[in-house]
């Protein structure tokens, strides 16, 4: 059950700093397009910045550098939001965890914050730690009343399975708006938009990217994704909803790799929650950018036929 006290702490701002994600923007442009457009429809103006870089989490995650090396990137990106006096909205679990966690670390560790600020000062910036970081799924949950008012394509009869992602649930025990073991807010959103939630056994399992294994141990990673996809296929949803572009890319693209390697036939479309909300809010099909999706395109077209193009 969502932690309503946490949800109540999320503001409903007029503007929000829209934090672009490297994986989302490069692999699935629909996430960014739908994210900004849907926020606009819901009455929150997204503000982007060309100066923003990668959140800096990836180098830590992929074992390239120590966590302290990522902190200046986190601080710099957050200072962009701070100078506009805005809170930050991210579309990726990785950005969410690293911005939140490193931000939290710097705010509570004056020494690190001081040395990071020394670097930022050279660029004429300062990190203060005043911008709160929210995941776009959290924003949607906060704005769910507005969503229900604006649904133009009700997802009637569409069977939807969910995947939350470890870096939101596990890593976020201080800030996540839902329980790590039994989250339900995406299910609530899907209900609200008229869809049917399909439960499956491996719901809380990792997508397989985790533990740097897609980089450092691909076989482990594929094994794990296969276990997850087996469970998804058993439940046979029309689509699998994720809230992290990395899970998205793993679950979408590995299906084809497994079909090729193992001679199986996985064809489940994977969508980001922003795309699902965008679809329900009636965004043009071109903005959903399904052309970038690899798996289950036929099924996705079929869903579009049913909910209306």
């Amino acid at each position: 059950m969502p932690r309503l006290d946490k949800v109540a702490q999320i503001p409903k701002p007029e503007q929000i700093f829209f934090f672009k994600s490297c994986v989302a923007s490069n692999k699935y442009p629909g996430i960014e397009a739908c994210g900004t457009e849907s926020l606009r429809i819901l009455g929150v103006e997204p503000v982007e910045s060309d100066e923003q870089t990668c959140c800096g989490g990836f180098v830590t995650f992929a074992n390239v550098a120590a966590p302290t090396a990522s902190m200046p990137a986190v601080a710099r990106n957050l200072s962009l939001a701070e100078e506009k006096n805005l809170d930050t909205c991210v579309v990726c679990n990785g950005c969410w965890t690293f911005l939140n966690e490193f931000g939290h670390f710097m705010n509570n560790n004056a020494e690190v914050k001081g040395s990071v600020n020394m670097m930022l000062n050279m660029m004429g910036r300062e990190y203060k730690g005043t911008s709160h970081v929210f995941h776009i799924a959290e924003m949607y949950y906060r704005l769910k009343d507005d969503i229900s008012k604006h649904v133009l394509r009700p997802l009637k009869g569409v069977k939807i399975a969910t995947h939350y992602g470890c870096h939101y649930l596990g890593g976020g025990k201080y800030s996540a708006i839902d329980d790590a073991q039994m989250p339900t807010y995406m299910e609530e959103l899907i209900d609200l938009m008229g869809g049917t939630v399909v439960p499956y056994a491996a719901n809380r399992e990792c997508c397989g990217t985790g533990f740097t294994q897609i980089i450092n141990g691909k076989d482990l990673s594929l094994d794990h994704t296969q276990r997850k996809l087996d469970s998804v296929q058993e439940a046979d949803p029309d689509m699998l909803i994720v809230q992290c572009p990395y899970c998205h890319s793993q679950l979408d693209r590995v299906q084809q790799q497994l079909n090729f390697r193992q001679g199986v036939n996985y064809q489940t479309p994977v969508l980001h929650i922003a795309q699902l909300v965008g679809m329900a809010l009636g965004l043009p099909v071109s903005q959903l950018a399904f052309a970038a999706h690899v798996s289950g395109r036929e099924r996705l077209e079929n869903v579009l036929d049913r909910v209306g193009r």
């Binding site: 329980d179 056994a201 719901n203 809380r204």
Partner: protein, 337 residues
């Protein structure tokens, strides 16, 4: 000097204390906040380590108490206020029929305990799946003959809320090992085709016949004991998947189950801190009533003239609660005579 004694709580400890005082010529007012006497004992189907009919025993004790002259039983009554000192307390009792004031010489607190609701244990799907139940709900299912039929698998999970600093209590609830074994045996007796699995961390069964009881569960009733705390219970279609590590071989294991029973911790009774505030006695860090001296004066509270009995002081089994009820009675008699 007033000769009456007030006993708070009509569970087995309170009933025993009331009986012993009355049988020795004292007068007792026994108050119970529920409508019926019996407390947690009355919610059980069987006792351990001897599988005896719990309802029969508790009914017999209640009858004895009712038949003994000198015991005034006040159901649906709560304590509202206390003034005075040892030997001469004035207490204010509140019931639906109104408030009354009484003079008593001693007070015995036997407020019992509460089974923790494991709502924080979302990893066990408690509250989401109807097939995940607490041990108290299992007792009810057994009494109503609703236990799984046929070739069912039942998993018993130890230490839910006990020995858990993060989500529950640091202490060991003492009785869960034994009552889980009792439940497993009840399951196997009710349905010999079923399979029972018990996941434990350590087996703590200290008492006469307890170790033998648990060995019987393993050897006679063929209950499988696996060492490892259950990590997850996942719903999968109509079944539940229980995930843990068999820590003796160091390998992850998985059991497909039809019913999962959580051995929830014993926690202080609801409102124990409020009651302690009214009485002016101390509680420990969890909310159990604090003994004056743990070893030799276990039933003295921090205030003279107020005595403690039963599981409101610490998790304990029925036999200890009865013994402590008797001890509190003799302390009270010593004071009022």
């Amino acid at each position: 000097m007033s000769k009456k004694t007030l006993v708070i709580g009509g569970g087995i400890a309170g009933i025993t204390a009331a009986q012993k005082i009355a049988q020795n010529g004292g007068e007792v007012i026994l108050i119970e906040k529920e409508g019926e006497l019996g407390g947690n004992f009355a919610k059980l189907a069987y006792t351990f380590p001897v599988l005896a009919d719990a309802k029969m025993i508790v009914t017999r004790e209640i009858q004895t108490a009712k038949a003994t002259s000198g015991i005034e039983i006040l159901p649906q009554t709560e304590l509202r206020g206390v003034s005075g000192s040892a030997g001469d307390f004035t207490v204010e009792l509140n019931s639906p029929s109104g408030t009354r004031s009484e003079h008593v010489g001693a007070i015995i607190v036997a407020a019992g305990f509460h089974y923790m609701e494991p709502t924080a244990y979302t990893e066990y799907s408690y509250g989401r799946s109807p097939k995940v139940v607490t041990s108290l709900e299992f007792e009810k299912m057994a009494a109503e003959n609703r236990l799984p039929k046929g070739n069912a698998r039942v998993v018993f999970v130890h230490c839910v809320g006990s020995r858990d600093k993060a989500k529950g209590y640091r202490y060991c609830s003492k009785i869960c090992c034994s009552y889980s074994a009792k439940h497993a045996i009840m399951m196997k007796k009710a349905n010999p085709d079923s399979k029972a699995y018990v996941f434990y961390i350590d087996i703590r069964a200290l008492g006469k016949g307890y170790e033998e009881f648990i060995r019987d569960a393993m050897e006679v009733y063929n209950v499988r004991y696996i060492r490892g705390r259950v990590a997850k219970v996942i719903e999968s279609g109509s079944k539940l998947i229980v995930r843990a590590e068999d820590s003796l071989i160091g390998n992850p294991v998985e059991v497909e189950a039809d019913l999962v029973v959580l051995a929830s911790a014993m926690e202080p009774p609801e409102g124990s801190r409020d009651l302690a505030g009214i009485l002016g006695i101390a509680t420990d860090e969890y909310g159990f009533f604090q003994e004056a001296e743990v070893n030799v004066r276990p039933c003295h509270s921090s205030k003279s003239g107020i005595f403690l009995a039963g599981s409101c002081t610490q998790p304990m089994e029925i036999a200890s609660a009865v013994a402590m009820g008797g001890l509190a009675a003799s302390e009270a008699l010593t004071l009022i005579r």
